[in-house]
Amino acid sequence: MSMDYREYILDHYRDPRNYGTLEHPDVHCEDSNPLCGDQLGMDLQIEGDRVTEVRIQGRGCAISQASASMLSEMIEGKTLEEVIALGKEDVLEALGIPISPARTKCAFLGLRVLHRGLAIAGLEQPQEDEDE
């Protein structure tokens, strides 16, 4: 198993999509990965049953920041139902490389922030942390 840093991952890291903040977000959440110190914040604008805008901001390793950038592309324009259904397998598929056990927390930081934000806003049931 080799966790190689493909060019598209580095591209998302160097130039994260949807980077920034929203002035009046409907959903806002931030979290950090205590092990590495990766930080990530996420703002969502929701109109009707659709996520119309998403912004992310953060600092950390390439895996955490690139996966959050990729996740933001998956979220924008989707229905809430679709966004709520996004899981680890979607993030892994977007990354397209095997993630070593020690780095899964980096890869799923964006996903964790998304679901925690939706739960705080009362839009989905809080999720239990799974064993990784």
């Binding site: 080799s2 966790m3 190689d4 840093y5 580095l10 160097r14 092990l35 590495c36 110190g37 990766d38 930080q39 600092r59 950390g60 390793c61 390439a62 895996i63 070593s100 780095r103 980096c106």
Partner: protein, 426 residues
């Protein structure tokens, strides 16, 4: 040069080790022959935990194969052998740090537990509201959090000796803080992040002059340089076996006898008692007063074998080898463009180098080094978040060295860093 204590048959084979080549020493560590990701395994994380020589593994195995029984109870031969094996290890450790008596060596799980033991027992008996405890900004969490907990329980105050940009303690501030009559001063002998070797002999003397008791976190120093607790006049000093060729699960608290005798026990249970009645008990003598329950017997025996191994090499030689390797590594790393090294020069530094490389996150660096060149380094805050904050860092990469580290391995580390730069070219 020290000679081996030839008391354990399993380790006498190492009594003529002094003067052996690095290649011969490396052969004693089976794990150094394995591969990772199809490449030779290069272990540069001994500060987190060292590798173990065959002599240590054999000693532990032999205990389980031939001498396995509980200690301090049986009157049959095998139990007596187990007890003798464990107590012999205690004597070796006492001699290794030049403790006056082996009863001053308390077996704990690790350095962390040793510090917690002192914070709970000596701390509860001696610290009260308003009392001052002096720590430093470069402490590992294990030498911060137990004192924070004690301060919360008692209302004691904590003050911190700051660190300079070069990674040295600001000793003028230390001298000022000592004028506030602290009860306790706790500091690391060697920083696990910066590698800084602190001038603890002077620091202990100054603390004593101010009427304070001293606790030395020697987790990084006892494995890497000669430490003499009597010459240092240390009150408490602690370290772990697994960072000095021994197994995990066993560590040491050294204390001055009068202090240890006056302290209440830590955990209650078997072995730590003299007499037990339903409503009260009396305590065993040192060191067992602090060793409740069945101890880590195989680990103590393995620890003893690790001490034999280090004695055979000679701790002056261990330090000399690491000084050379560290100096070589500092030169090699300084030549890498965009690389920043934290901490002092080689003469004030143990075998630890923390660094960052341009904007590459240390976790990405560690992953690339692992995959591309088989090099294991540590990346993160190294259980020293306040120190990271001091340097405005979220994390660093850290390479650390021991008796088996070679210059060729440093060269491969540098090649790996160049690969990482190539992958992450911005």
């Amino acid at each position: 040069m020290l000679t081996s204590d030839n008391t354990t048959p399993a380790t006498t084979v190492h009594s003529t080790q002094s003067g052996r080549s690095l290649a011969e020493i490396r052969q004693d560590f089976p794990i150094l022959a394995r591969q990772v990701h199809g490449k030779p395994f290069i272990y540069l994380d001994s500060t987190a935990s060292s590798q173990k020589p065959t002599a240590v593994l054999t000693a532990m195995n032999e205990y389980y194969h031939q001498h396995n029984a509980n200690v301090h109870r049986g009157v049959y031969l095998v139990s007596e052998e187990a007890t003798a094996g464990m107590e012999k290890a205690r004597v070796k450790i006492a001699r290794f740090i030049n403790a006056r008596q082996s009863k001053q060596i308390i077996f704990t799980r690790n350095t962390t537990e040793s510090i917690n033991l002192v914070a709970h027992t000596w701390g509860s008996a001696n610290i009260s509201s308003g009392d001052l405890i002096i720590l430093t900004e470069m402490e590992h969490h294990s030498n911060l959090v137990p004192w924070q907990l004690l301060a919360q329980r008692t209302g004691a105050r904590l003050e911190f000796v700051p660190v300079t940009d070069d990674g040295l303690l600001q000793l003028d501030v230390y001298a000022d803080l000592l004028r506030q009559q602290p009860k306790l001063v706790a500091f690391t002998h060697m920083s696990n992040v910066l590698g800084t070797i602190n001038p603890i002999h002077e620091m202990i003397a100054q603390a004593h002059a101010a009427g304070a008791i001293t606790m030395v976190d020697a987790a990084q120093s006892v494995p890497h340089l000669p430490v003499d607790v009597q010459a240092l006049d240390a009150d408490f000093l602690c370290f772990s076996a697994h960072k000095m060729l021994g197994p995990t699960g066993i560590g040491v608290l050294y204390g001055k006898k009068a202090l240890l005798e006056a302290m209440p026990p830590f955990m209650g249970g078997g072995d730590m008692i003299r007499t037990v009645k339903l409503r009260e008990s009396t305590w065993n003598d040192l060191p067992w007063k602090f060793e409740a329950g069945t101890p880590a017997i195989a680990e103590a025996i393995g620890f003893g074998a690790a001490i034999d191994y280090l004695n055979a090499l000679g701790m002056d030689n261990v330090r000399q080898h690491e000084r050379e390797i560290t100096s070589y590594a500092l030169d090699a790393l300084k030549a890498v463009p965009g690389l920043t090294i934290y901490g002092p020069e080689a003469d004030q530094r143990g075998g630890v180098v923390s660094f960052t490389l341009a904007d590459i996150h240390p976790h990405d660096l560690a992953s690339i080094l692992d995959q591309e060149v088989g090099v294991a380094i540590r990346a993160g805050h190294h259980c020293a978040q306040p120190l990271m904050e001091r340097y405005d860092l979220a994390a660093t990469a850290r390479a650390s060295f021991y008796i088996y580290t070679s210059k060729e391995e440093i060269d491969i580390l540098v090649q790996g860093l160049q690969k990482a730069q190539h992958i992450f070219r911005f």
